[in-house]
Symmetry: C5
Subunit: 356 residues, 5 copies
């Protein structure tokens, strides 16, 4: 724990990051910077930078608004957005370099287009959120296909191995659902706080333009649009989830019902076995080395053979009849008509009892 | 993913749409328009139009209020309502052309009746919401009938195939429930925001009539009425849902209980089989080619036959008695009286222990 | 669907209703009125009256406050309360005429007592809510008795038919719970909106007395009192519901445990059958028409009979011993002591590992 | 119902109550008072007094603040607190007279200590809430011990009777949980309303001291402290509840798994029985009174005996091998390595498909 | 209960505590102080000190802000923070002295660093919260490893003992989850109340510096940071929880499916046994000491032996065919195509019926 403690104190660790300048050009790629330098340069509290620190895996995404900086830490992206610079921190273990390079390309492109529309920092945010959204969408489509395929397989045959795969997929779905929800919550948390929204107009702040606290429609529309799309993804994940849930429930019922059928067949077999055993007992009795006085009877063999077979059938038939009586299962009570009249009478009486 | 990215950038794609003019006459049917043109004509942000873009299936319905336009995207309807025009976008894959033509007919009719009541844009909204409501109602009635019929069938007999149909129906119900809830949320979201409600008086805005922010009773009553009716549908869907749930639970109990009955019968059969086997063993012993000194006894056959049958019965009877003891299952503990006294004593002591 | 559409447009349909005048006397009983007339007479929007229209069954209860009218639609009561008139709409299919006549009697009585306490419209509301409350209470008591009786029966014996009845009762309970909750929500919705509460002082409005928005304590106390009582009913229904739930869970466990006992007995029987079969095999071997060289041995019969019975017992005893080992089921791990020490050590090590 | 109606109208029923005066001395013990007198004396609405009326069991606890009176109705205590009097209503059926007398003793003591701390009415409230808290705590400890003991017993052996007791205990726990939650809600409801809190300073009101609406820190600290303690109790009850829940789930799994073991042993027995049956068949064939040409063979008996035993073993061994294959159950798919590579490839392809 | 009552009154009990002075030096270690002295010295209400009283185990953590003191009672730490003193109360039974000493060391260090950053009381809070966070993290990692290991074991083999361990672990997880949530709630409760936050600037209060109510950014950032980290832990615990849940569900399905396989094998065995029994019956019939006229037939033995074996096979084959029919279980209805067309037709008709 001492280590953990130390790990929390500001140390002079190096962070690898990529920096884009005000024109959208990449200034440094994976350059190493000292944490303390970053803090002082961007006027950040070391505590804030710890969030972005790429070595600690963070589940809960955050969008922090500081004096001159927006700190974004969502899924695979950890970035620091200023009015004229974007610093992207490398996340260790993010093998998915393709995703990253596409993102970088799009970000560069987006920052370069100096359309009169959005200020620099919002264009950066737009690219970041778009990358997050794409990653979520891709994963959602992937999981949906996985689970959809498995559920379709279950239509054909229910077996062990599919349950195990279902387990792995639904764990995965749960973790995805969790992540997507947290992203949505992070977006909504920002949207709910007028001060944060106003504080995100970094360019205006830098240029000394005063804004009213409630004047942030552009940003709100931008964030709301992403929030809606993430909500759609969360919603779809919940749909899949409820689908899996109801499939599990029905599979259990099907297995249960199948078991009853197996048992019923087993019973039939047992009944026949018992009948046959009865016949064997009769045959065995006459197989005893004792005098049965029928030894010399000509027809005794035929009669007793048929008799023992008949006894076998009789016992079996008796058993099967009982089975048939049990097998007939329905939810309707046999004496429902009666019971409903009873209900009505009871109801009327209960009201009569209250005497209103 | 590059494609997805591009798909998000404003492209010059064509949209098919039907346009109604200020008198409620259809000006264009399924005409093709360029996205960019639509944006500039109606002073829309391309981002907004993307929502309405009919090629992307949208789960989450939205009612967006912009400067001169109300954008509606609920279920099968994607429309753009202005103070003197209604633009209906064709939804691909909406095979349900009958629903659409009835809607169009009603909309035309509604827009033409220039009663002094509601302004143009609210009459359009009224038609749109009525069509949405009808679609929801029709589907709800349909699903209720499907599930009601299935549950009634389950009253008669519980079997495999019905579970499978139950699965399909309850998936369908879940998806319907989800859609209906989202429609309700969309309506309530608009109702909660006074600015949006005020901004929806497009005709007044166009005519330059100033309105107070809180003065929007007509619209509120209109939307609230639809919201209440959608709530009723959602509520009914939840009722069906809980009905399915409790049926599933009871079916499981019935299957369990039935299984126990099958097992009990099986046991009876097994017991009889064992008894018969015991008899056979005795018979077999005397069937051995060995000297039993009874070979010549006159009554030995009769006595031993009866004896072995008796042994069979004895063993069986013993088994059946044990079975009967297990079969008797109730929730009441036998020694309840005692245990309740115990509870009371314990309780008093515990209080005494606290010594208050 | 065209019909549905038409059904929604103002038609000249007749409504049957009973009217009470300012002195509480019944002016008209089940008189027929045209919808349009009612609307114009009471200055109502046709949309509002549609709610009260008795032919459409409404689940969600509503209390609407309009300019001169309070519209109440809760459970079996659909009424229109003015400052000097109460219009009660007949609900089709409300066979429960007794409930209705008692309500009418109480309403008349309540309106006639011109005590200086509450104004006319609140006395009418009081009667209406009291009738609603009584209906809810009566149904709750009825359902509680039904379910209580059934659960008591389950104490004695768990069987098929009772599950089916449980299903019917718990469906009924769910629907009741839903209705009660909706009534409570309707009451609370009114209570939460100061404007609505203020607007309900119809007599004062009629007499031109100005009231402050927050001055509505009488009405608040009246509604709150009913709301609390409905809450109590909802709470009790939830109690019953959770009772049913936990009973179902335990019944499942009891059935499971009973099944294991049945299986264990079955196993014992199987084991004995196997043992007996072994004995029979030995006997059968010596029953073969082959030379075993023991044919003439005097003691062979006795010895082999006993031997085969012993073999039967040996095999059975062996099987039973294995069974006993499996049967002993408890939640406690045998090597708990050990494992807990393990846990502790592990825990300490893990903390040591963090090195704090 | 007429009765119920009447029961609600102010009648001249007598209430038994104990009265303490301003010095904390008991003035009257279980004196009888007419309802109407109490109402007029304490300036109460009859509707309010109905809540306290001890003959109707009330689930939902309430703390009502009226002009000169605080009405408290929580669990076993129904009291009316004024600036210089406390009226305790006797609750019928409250056999727990010991609890009551201790409460009375503490209340007297608390009222007599005229420390400069809290005013009269808050000292009364303090005693009342303390008694409520003690009752809740005592019951919680009692239920915790009951359930803890039962769960400990389940560690040893899982059987019928314990499930039944579990059912009774968990019903009891649910009802306790419900009551505790309602007490907490009642406390929080008061804490949330500044007007109510301010209105509870009865002594200041009587002495004509004006207080600001927000100036009620003493009372807030007092109520908050009790609220926290009740929260702790609710929290503990939820812990027990979740403990019971997870135990039930695991018990079901253990029973299921035990059943599979029983079935596996049953299968083994069946397999042996089949093998033995096969041997018996062979023996039986040679026991037929037919010519097998082996009758005189010296070694035939030995050979065939051994052969039939071998056949028995062969058949059994074959069956057991199949069983062993089925018995091995784990959650891991055998071809997991493969499937995970498949997953990865699929994932990459899906992302490639989106082409980002 | 009298005892409990007394336990609540201020008694002259001694509390053991460690005191740090304004320079961060330990003044007293485990010194004994009278409760009353502490109250008067720090101007505390005895009611407040009761919370900190270390002999009563407290589940719900609290951060109370009083005039000159912040009272902290979270997990293993019970402290009293003033502008120039920190009093740490010893918790009895906290065997974990290592955790405590590391905490003390860190606290001392943190208080000594008189950086211009945070005031004395916040540095103390920082150390306290850091210790709490470390404890939570350590336990979370420990539980995650325990459960992760167990779930991995379940991949290999599902058995009794593992369920029992799962029960113990998931109880532990639930209790941990509960504690972590309560810590988060305590932090958020403080964060939500501006007055409390402002009141926590003890140093400024002492120095008589006036602060605006909303001016507490430093503290907010500090607490928010810890709150976020606790949220992350809670989130992870929920992930583990849902993992356990879905594993349990799938294990149940796997056990169920395995049981069906066992039953199917059992059935096969039973079927073979029955067939063999049939053969034995035939053999037994010919073993009867009766005249079958075939006694001298040369081929009778061979023919009948084969015949009885054939009969055995025939009966078995018949049984196995039936079994195979039952065994094939899938979720897809065989007549789905048909039923879907039916659905569509039904749907269209239902819409036609509404006639829109």
């Amino acid at each position: 724990l001492e280590k953990a403690m130390k790990g929390r104190q500001p140390t002079d660790l190096m962070l690898r990051c990529t920096i884009l300048d005000a024109d959208g050009n990449v200034k440094t790629i994976s350059g190493q910077f000292r944490r303390a330098d970053l803090c002082s340069e961007h006027r950040l509290n070391p505590r804030d930078l710890r969030k972005i620190d790429s070595r600690i895996p963070n589940l809960v995404p955050t969008i922090l608004v500081r004096k001159e900086v927006i700190l974004v830490n969502i899924l695979h992206i950890r970035a620091l957005v200023k009015a004229d610079t974007v610093v992207l921190f490398d996340t260790y273990g993010s093998a998915d370099s393709r995703l990253h390079s596409v993102f970088l390309y799009h970000l560069e492109h987006n920052l370069k287009t100096k359309s009169p529309g959005l200020p620099y920092e919002f264009r950066a945010l737009d690219s970041i959120l778009l990358s997050v959204l794409s990653a979520l969408e891709a994963e959602m489509v992937f999981i949906r296909n996985l689970i959809g395929g498995l559920l379709a397989e279950l239509e054909d045959d229910i077996d062990h191995d599919r349950f195990k795969r279902l387990l792995h997929y639904s764990r995965r779905l749960a973790s995805f659902q969790n992540r997507a929800k947290l992203v949505q919550e992070a977006l909504e948390e920002v949207l709910e706080q007028d001060e944060d929204l106003a504080a995100m107009y970094l360019t205006d702040k830098k240029n000394g333009i005063q804004r009213r606290l409630s004047d942030h429609e552009d940003l709100e529309v931008l964030l709301e649009s992403f929030s809606k799309q993430v909500e759609e993804i969360v919603n779809e994940a919940e749909n899949i989830q409820s689908n899996v849930q109801s499939t599990q429930e029905i599979v259990e019922l099907v297995l249960d019902s199948n078991r009853n059928e197996l048992l019923a067949l087993d019973l039939k077999i047992s009944i026949w076995t018992m009948g046959i055993g009865m016949g064997t007992l009769v045959a065995g009795l006459f197989g005893m080395n004792l005098k049965s006085t029928l030894e010399e009877n000509e027809y005794a063999f035929g009669i007793l053979s048929i008799a023992s077979l008949l006894i076998a059938c009789l016992f079996s038939w008796n058993g099967l009849r009982r089975l048939a009586k049990i097998r007939k299962v329905g939810l309707g009570s046999k004496n429902r008509k009666v019971s409903e009249q009873f209900l009505l009478r009871e109801y009327l009486r209960s009201k009569g009892g209250e005497g209103w």
